[in-house]
Amino acid sequence: MTDPLSPPPKKNPQVRTVSPTRPPEARSRAALGLSAAAAEGRFALQHCDECGKVQYPPRDACSGCLSTELRWKDTDAKGTLLAETTIHTSTKLYFRERTPWRTGSVQLDAGPVIICHLHGDCVRNGRVDIINRLDRSGQAVLLALPSQRSPHMEDDPQLRAMTSDPKHRRILITDARNPNTSEIARALSDAGASMIFVGLSETWRPSPTLDALSAMDKVDVLPLDVTDTHSVQKLAGAIGGKTDILINNARFLRPGGVLARSDTSFAKEEMEVNYFGLMRLAQSFGPVMASRTADGVNASVAWVNILSVHALSSQPEFGCFSASNAAARSLSQSLRAEFRASGLRVMNLYCGPTEDEWYQPLPPPKVTPQAVARTLVTGLQNGLEETYCGDVAKDVFERFRDNPLILERETTLAGDGA
């Protein structure tokens, strides 16, 4: 049984903050396929197209028939723990600082034997479920969990090291005015967040959600306007050092593509909020968050961007908005790379049309604030980098993964008019 995680004590100002260290990052190109699957929380292995043999470690040719047609497929994650060890010494600082550390050898039902991290409740010869997660180097690692849920199992230190669990963490949600904010705050509170800061722009105009937010336990509404550099710097100065998870849900959205508008006003505002807002937040909050990724139970752990799935491929009815999200997505990739050395994780949550005023003329299905909140919390608990909320987002992503050029044609048909 896992010892439940205790809330962290107040920080001792006389003790040096532990510098972030990282597990090994080097991987072959083939092994990056496992990391790509881990970014989405999937357990996938290479399967041979010709003979069907399941491969591990990742490789470039089938060890059964020499075919080079190996395809990553979601794979049965059940297995049996053959052997285990508790590592007491390691030449890698990251592990040295975290010993004892358990690893094991698991016979997968799917065929291969894997070396993996072990959840504390796994027992020798017991049945296990393998999960594929990103470690603090941002690369995939496999972790065995007991096949039967055990109490407080999410508090296992090795599991927590791979995830961005909100429990006992202090979280900033950037935009109180977004219709999804209350639900996100509630879900994070339910998931054990210790403090939820919510940014409110333009305090000189009313906010329909303010009263509900202010009434919530653990919620503190603070002035923040992501279009105003000074405002972002001011809030980072106040709470940057205790922001463990930042959730950027600021969004400016107006319908229309290029020709539907006759000027760049809305497009500028879209870029100001959706793109430059992210940049301003990153420049103010990023460095201090990146310095605190080894700071105990409530070390900083994740940066979340809520984006439109049309960041992947334009939705012409919202063409300019799609473009600003594509810009934000591209920026998030740069940010992810820049954070990589610290272990701070960037998670992008992609939504289809949301249930709010700007998508009001669109038919269902639409994403409710509750669904966004649920996907977000699950994504953090699973330590994801990419997650998709709602049927539309998942559908667009599947099509994008299959063939982005086909997707573009599917979404840009002009219809059979004249």
Binding site: P23, P24, A26, R27, S28, A30, A31, Y56, P57, P58, R59, S63, L82, A83, E84, T85, T86, I87, H88, T89, S90, T91, K92, Y94, F95, W101, T103, G104, S105, Q107, V113, I114, I115, C116, H117, R124, N125, D135, S137, Q139, V141
Partner: protein
Amino acid sequence: MRQSYDGVVLCAPFTTAYQRYSIETAHWWIARALKGSLDLAGLRPSEIDGFTVSSFTLFPDTAVGLTQHLGLSPRWLDHIPMGGASGVVALRRATRAVQSGDADIVACVAGDTNHIDSFRLMLSSFSRFASDASYPYGYGGPNANFALLTDRYMQEFGATREDFGKICVAQRQNALSNPGAVMKKPLTLEQYLAAKPISDPIALFDCVMPCAGSEAFLVMSEEEAAKRALPYARISGAIERHNAHAEDPIQLRGGWSVDIDELWDMAGCAPVDMDLVQTYDDYPVISAMQIEDLGFCPKGEAPSFLRDKDMTIKGDFPHNTSGGQLSAGQAGAAGGFIGLVEAIRQVTGQAGPTQVAGASSALVSGFGMINYDRGVCSAAAVITGGAR
């Protein structure tokens, strides 16, 4: 039946005394061993026409760079990156080269340096599968890998830590007779059992001590050796196998078990005829595995087989007589030569303080390269004393 190794012999075994840390390079250590071996044989560098090298710390050089660095001009050149199997593999290749006339005198050398951080750096670039699928899991290096198979071996066959301790304690006893050994203090079973845990069930004295060192021997025709009045050893049989038993979920046996019958058939003798055994001892469980796979006892019975044996130089089952890697030190790729070079000394009566009385036959076994979860290369040779 494969062609025998008759007519070709091993001589001039040389070991450069090991050091825990060295400021020198692999090139320096290799040069020392090569010179040592040539001096024993009374040869000048220009008189060898074959050269093979094994080393982990030679980067960015290989055997090619060494020819220019050391002023050699061989007509047969090899680089054998097989770690613990390098010695026997070098022996096999060099012997065939001499048999075929591609070379007359081949110097086989292995050596590595050990800087303060070189073990950690070496680990970080060992193999692609290790980088992808082993190091990210605690970065325990070989310790963690062998801990897993030791754990499985103990479960499967009921072996105890005392069984492994017996191997380590005996080797320490042998090392005390070897002035070149890194380990200088006696080791008791109590100390072994109470040692600091490294990666359960592996503790401190199950692990080798990385160090700097080098080893060398020469391969030439029996006539050549006789002409030069060099003591030499003959090769009765030798085997080599890579990536055997890939289907085994965890390594409890090595490639020797595939080729064991051929080895003893070729050698024309049996395990019981051996005067000493040099196993590759990166961890005691691997020595136990070799003792089983090479036919001294059935699978899983090495612990009980060894329980009744005395593995010291003066005992009834002399094993790793120079102290092996566990007590003499683990000098990188030289660890693949330590048993073979010592065995050549033993069967030619040149082992000095570690000499097993009357030794004339030895089994030498090699095991190398934890590419991912297990050692991939295995090799073994039976050598016998020729002229003394």
